[in-house]
Amino acid sequence: MTSIDTHQEPFRLGMLLNDTRYRSLTIQVFALAAFILTTAWLVSNTVQNLSALGKDFSFSFLGSRAGYDINQTLVPYTNNSTHARAALVGILNTILIAILGCGLATVIGVLMGVLRLSGNWIVARIAAAYVEGFRNVPVLLWIIAIMAIITESAPAPRAFRGDEASASMLFGAFAVTNRGLYMPWPVLGPGWQLVVLTFLASLAAIVFLRRQARRRQEETGEILPIFWLGTGLFFVPVLLVDALLGGPITLDYPVLERFNFAGGGFVDKALLALWLALSLYTGSYIAEIVRAGILAVPRGQTEAASALGLRPRRVMSLVILPQALRVIVPPLISQYLNLTKNSSLAIAVGYMDVRATLGGITMNQTGRELECMLLLMGFYLLVSLGISSVMNWYNASVALKER
């Protein structure tokens, strides 16, 4: 009987280099040492340079007076506010353009993606031309070009004057001018909170109703007329409360005065140009994502669903969409992220986002490049990591449950 020799080689120094069991340890130690040394070198350089420039590292400048004006703000701000306040205004403006842009880009992208798959030759060609045209030209060019087109081609407010005005308002409510868009804006009278609360309550009721209806259908097979009930719940209570309170929420329409429109809401042309450009550009990417997602569902699925006797609408909502969405959503969210990051090009048209306030005027005025850039990058990193953790959560929740 032979015994298996489990003889262990004694450790030698050479094994750190030649034995694959120990070599990865050696490499890691060296990598870590190199990383620490490089970091230390960079930090010591920074300290030396800052002291040579007579600067210190502190964030106290955030509390001092900003001294510059911002044309579009979501929260009260004057040039007497602090730099921190200016940064907040910028952050809110970034979030505003991100939300507006993601919404419009999704609408455009889904529409164009579906049209590109259309059986209609000419419509499919137009959608393809849109996608290729916008994808292959830099977004900065679109932003600047759309801004220039609005500035040069849109009518001035005075073109709306007189009986033979060369421009007219859309539906008597919207005016596209070379300064921006004038539009109706809600005015909140006393008791408006009640109307909003009623609206939110009816939304909650609709969600509850749908759940009940689904449970009932699964238990008994009975289908409730959910659509009409939902529509009724959406409109009736709000209109009723509004009428009872005497219409606390009214619309204020823009009216042409001596030099300009007054009243109503105003969207600056910078925001308008940025919004359109980012949405059209990102929309072309979303169109491709939607197209790929729909194509990724095998034809057999459609045919099998039809064979089961489902109607085309149900085939779409119960079979195709759930499978297509699993493919579509992750790249869609990363496009949203790209749109948010691309909104940092706002400075090209003078829209004051966080890059233009904190990373622009504040940085130039205070000379705190290091601190400002750290805060700016931190903000964008926070947004990115937040969105990608949402994406990971979604991926995990829709992943195929394989056993």
Binding site: A31, N45, N49, V139, L141, I144, K341, L370, S384
Partner: protein, 430 residues
């Protein structure tokens, strides 16, 4: 028994299908008028196209190519085609096209960027098309040095000294590998190369100034030359860097993985413009006091780092998509890590990730326009400068159309090439 009843004794000639089911008519019916909504969409699209053509055609037909300013353009259009006519003023392109292509490069030296541009295709051809002889790839290796020498001028010994570093690394590696292990040889060779570049390359290059060209400063670079210099350099360096990062991210070594993940996620989490701001404001603070190097070089470094993080993710996708059996088969053959990666893993992983890689390249090339925001005069920076000129104040479509067309040609060309490559490399595994 003979069949009864009426039956035919002779064959009928085959008949042509009904007119509505063949040829153009059928195509029209199937593709444009298959149903009422489809017919409506077709008519709407045709109306939109007609409207567009009706507006754009006269604009092109009434274009002016020879004028000194926008007002002059408009006067000429009014004289020739009457008061209400609108027309393009391509005179601005005619006046400024050299600036768009070369920036502020000295006029008598235009041949140098042009030659570098032509040579770029000669260098790319053996990489892009496998039918060409492999030996031509040495020219692709030599091209970066030649391009640097042509674009910036100065003595040819500078790029030669840089190449000498690689040669020294190779020689040292060969000498050491004969005596010690592969890893030691690699480390010593890299150390020798860096020492040569840091301390010896400069003095040697200065001591032997051969083939000196008139030097041109970076401040004179602009227009498409600038975009191409940043874009091509970024593309060339981001691919190898991206491969290394992707391998690092997938490696078993904890610290290496952590560093790669940290780098990739950091870069992907911030917009490129913040990195460019770091390049223009902060890089000098991080480097030893007194260091000051070229803004274009700083931008290239940042753009390369930015693209390499995206590239790493694309290649990681390709590595993950490769069946596990390939890794195991490579191990079973007894190949070590680098050989397995080079010979088995990477060729397949890169093939899978071609669409993503080319998309990253296209994105990088488009992103070179962001340098306009930190004040470099790339084509978009130039349009802003031209629109600020009193002669051309108010011009829109002609300028942006021209720049958009140039970018479209480059990017569309790249995406078409990637589709060709995908078709060619499809080895029919499914």
């Amino acid at each position: 028994m003979a069949p009864t009843g009426s039956f035919r004794r002779e064959m009928l000639e085959a008949q042509a299908p009904p007119a509505a089911r063949t040829g153009r008519l059928r195509w029209l019916q199937e593709n444009l008028f298959s149903s009422w909504p489809s017919a409506l969409l077709t008519l709407l699209s045709l109306a939109a196209i007609l409207w567009l053509v009706a507006h754009v055609w006269p604009w092109f037909a009434h274009s002016v190519w020879d004028a000194g300013s926008l007002t002059e353009c408009r006067a000429i259009i009014r004289e020739t085609w009457g008061g209400g006519a609108s027309g393009a003023c391509f005179a601005v392109i005619r006046e400024r096209w050299q600036q768009f292509l070369f920036g502020f490069y000295p006029r008598e030296l235009y041949w140098r960027p042009t030659l570098a541009f032509v040579l770029m295709f000669a260098a790319l051809a053996p990489i892009l098309f496998a039918e060409l002889p492999r030996r031509l790839r040495w020219f692709a290796v030599a091209f970066p040095g030649i391009a640097y020498w042509l674009l910036w001028g100065g003595p040819a010994s500078v790029p030669l000294a840089v190449y000498a570093g690689f040669a020294i690394a190779w020689l040292v590696h060969r000498a050491v590998a004969a005596r010690a292990s592969e890893l030691v040889a690699l480390v010593v060779a890299v150390a020798a190369m860096i020492l040569w570049w840091l301390h010896l390359a400069g003095p040697v290059a200065r001591a032997l100034p051969i083939l000196e060209l008139q030097p041109v400063g970076s401040s004179r670079f602009g227009g498409f030359t600038l975009s191409l210099v940043i874009g091509v350099t970024g593309i060339a360096f981001s691919l190898p860097l991206g491969i290394l990062l992707a391998l690092g991210r997938r490696s078993q070594m904890f610290f290496v993985t952590t560093m790669c993940v940290g780098f990739i996620e950091f870069i992907r989490g911030v917009p490129l413009i913040t990195l460019l701001l770091v390049a223009s404001f902060l890089l000098n603070i991080f480097l030893p006091p007194g260091t000051n190097f070229d803004i274009i070089l700083r931008v290239i470094i940042m753009v390369t780092l930015f693209a390499s993080a995206y590239m790493a993710e694309v290649i990681r996708g390709g590595l993950a998509a490769l069946p596990r059996g390939q890794y195991e088969a490579a191990d079973a053959l007894g190949l070590d890590y680098w050989k397995a990666t080079r010979l088995i893993i990477m060729p397949q992983a890169l093939k899978i990730s071609i669409p993503g890689i080319v998309n990253t390249f296209i994105g990088l090339f488009k992103d070179t326009t962001l340098v306009a925001i930190i004040g470099l005069l790339d084509p978009i920076g130039l349009t802003t400068a031209i629109r600020a000129d009193t002669n051309w104040n108010g011009i829109v479509w002609e300028l942006y159309g021209f720049v958009a067309l140039l970018f479209f040609l480059c990017c569309y060309g790249m995406s078409q090439y990637s589709q060709y490559l995908e078709r060619k490399l499809r080895t029919g595994q499914r």
